[in-house]
Amino acid sequence: MPFQTETPAARRPHPPGARGVRVESATRRFGDVTAVEALSLSVAPGEVVAVVGPSGCGKSTLLELVCGLSEPDDGVVEAGPAALMPQRDLLLPWASALDNAALPLRVRGVSKADARAAAAPVFAELGLAGFEGARPSELSGGMRQRVAFLRTLLAGKPVLCLDEPFAALDALSRADMQRWLADALGREPRTVLLVTHDVEEAVVLADRVAVLSPRPGRVVAELPVPLPRPRSVTDRAFVALRERALEALGS
């Protein structure tokens, strides 16, 4: 009965009017494993921060802390209401793709028909038209990620925590999704914490790139990305920034 026995951290009081994220020397341990240690990272309201780091360095753990799904053993985590796009897409296998996307509305008490109607336009915009009634098992990995992504957006939270959102997409549709996300954030700004293993993606999307050390994770470099949007991956300044990020990751 996990739902009952865990602390209702997701309902912890948010600092009034909070739309940003503040993590201050947070430590999280799992038994003997220290996933993140004395990690500090702030995200201003409306800012997009990409988090890159080696596998197992605590990136997903950081997002769970920000979403209030677990509490730090040490330090402070403060964040506005946050929606999580988990690394595993966690679509409900019995529900159709459209119903999965509309889940946040259904959970809030919106009727089935209204929830579907609200989700359908963006569903089509993400290139999923025609797959409304398909079950997750009938979708490709990339399509499943797009459904999970839409579900995160429809949660309507000011903070988005995206855990490798486009990892399962091929290079072309990944570029499409990145452009789409950048546009969407331009229209309707949100505070975004984007975990990715793709440094290029980080530099394309983020206002700032935070580089984590191997486990236990801590921020070893923060690179501002002062480039105008839309960004071109062949641009000289872009390439220079990407190299700097890769260097910080390798050191």
């Binding site: 009965m1 996990p2 739902f3 009952q4 026995t5 209702p8 997701a10 309902r11 769970e64 979403c67 209030g68 799904l69 946050a82 929606a83 999580l84 988990p86 595993r88 966690l90 409900l92 296998p93 019995w94 529900a95 889940l103 946040p104 259904r106 959970v107 809030r108 079950r135 098992s137 949660a155």
Partner: protein, 246 residues
């Protein structure tokens, strides 16, 4: 198809053994004699079948209702679960053979004690499989629902209940298989009609073929119920359908 061949082969072997093995036909009638009894006694069998079938239907209905309700209640309320889980398991340890006559004394010779006994037997597999499955819902899915501000009830409605449905229906399938045995026990304990009663009566009357015919009807009924639930499972749970299974 292969299942049919196996049944035919077994019947053929039985027929040969009954005819050539020198067994008294009052002890082991040949399949052909049982078939004859099925046809000749069809009125008698049918009337008694209707009695047993309604006992089973009511008993299973009660067990499903109580089993699901109990599982959900125990799932939602941990103290209740702690307090009554041993009782639930104890309900399975009740020796039906001994309790059945007592229930008949208590509830009379009519339908009530039979329904009670069947419900008692079927309750356990339904309640326990459902309760277990409700508690085994994917933790990460429940976490995700928490970030969507799901209430306890929405988490149940959108994740736990659908996730538990396949196991609940499997519990119901087990229940159906034992329900028919339960009905026979219940009728043995005291009754004036039903297939179990017919078997009990036919043996001392040396109508062995008729008794076997009643057994055939009971077995066919159990198989039918099982497959009805199987179809329901496929219809209700298309996402669990696995390719290439019979």
């Amino acid at each position: 198809m292969i299942a049919l061949l196996v049944v035919l082969a077994l019947l053929g072997a039985w027929q040969l053994y009954a005819e050539l093995g020198g067994v008294d036909r009052l002890i082991l009638p040949a399949p052909s004699e049982i078939a004859t009894a099925l046809v000749e006694d069809r009125g008698l069998l049918w009337n008694n079948f209707l009695v047993t079938a309604s006992e089973v239907a009511l008993g299973i209905g009660a067990a499903l209702l109580l089993g699901f309700a109990c599982a959900v209640a125990l799932h939602f309320w941990l103290p209740l679960r702690r307090a009554t889980y041993p009782l639930l398991i104890g309900s399975q340890a009740i020796p039906i053979v001994i309790v059945a006559p007592l229930l008949v004394v208590w509830l009379g010779f009519g339908m009530a004690p039979k329904v009670a006994i069947i419900a008692l037997i079927c309750f356990f597999p339904v309640a326990v499989t459902t309760l277990d499955a409700l508690g085994r819902t994917d933790r990460d899915t429940l976490k995700l629902l928490r970030t969507l501000d799901a209430t306890r009830w929405s988490a149940f409605r959108f994740a736990e209940a659908p996730a538990a449905l396949p196991a609940a229906l499997s519990g119901a399938k087990i229940a159906v298989a034992v329900a028919v045995i339960g009905a026979v026990f219940a009728e043995y304990a005291g009754s004036s009609e039903g297939l179990g009663h017919l078997i009990l009566q036919s043996v001392p009357q040396l109508e062995t073929a008729r008794a076997w015919a009643a057994v055939v009807v009971l077995a066919a009924f159990a198989v039918l119920l099982f497959y009805a639930l199987d179809v329901a499972q496929r219809r209700l749970l298309p996402w669990t359908r696995t390719e290439g299974r019979p």
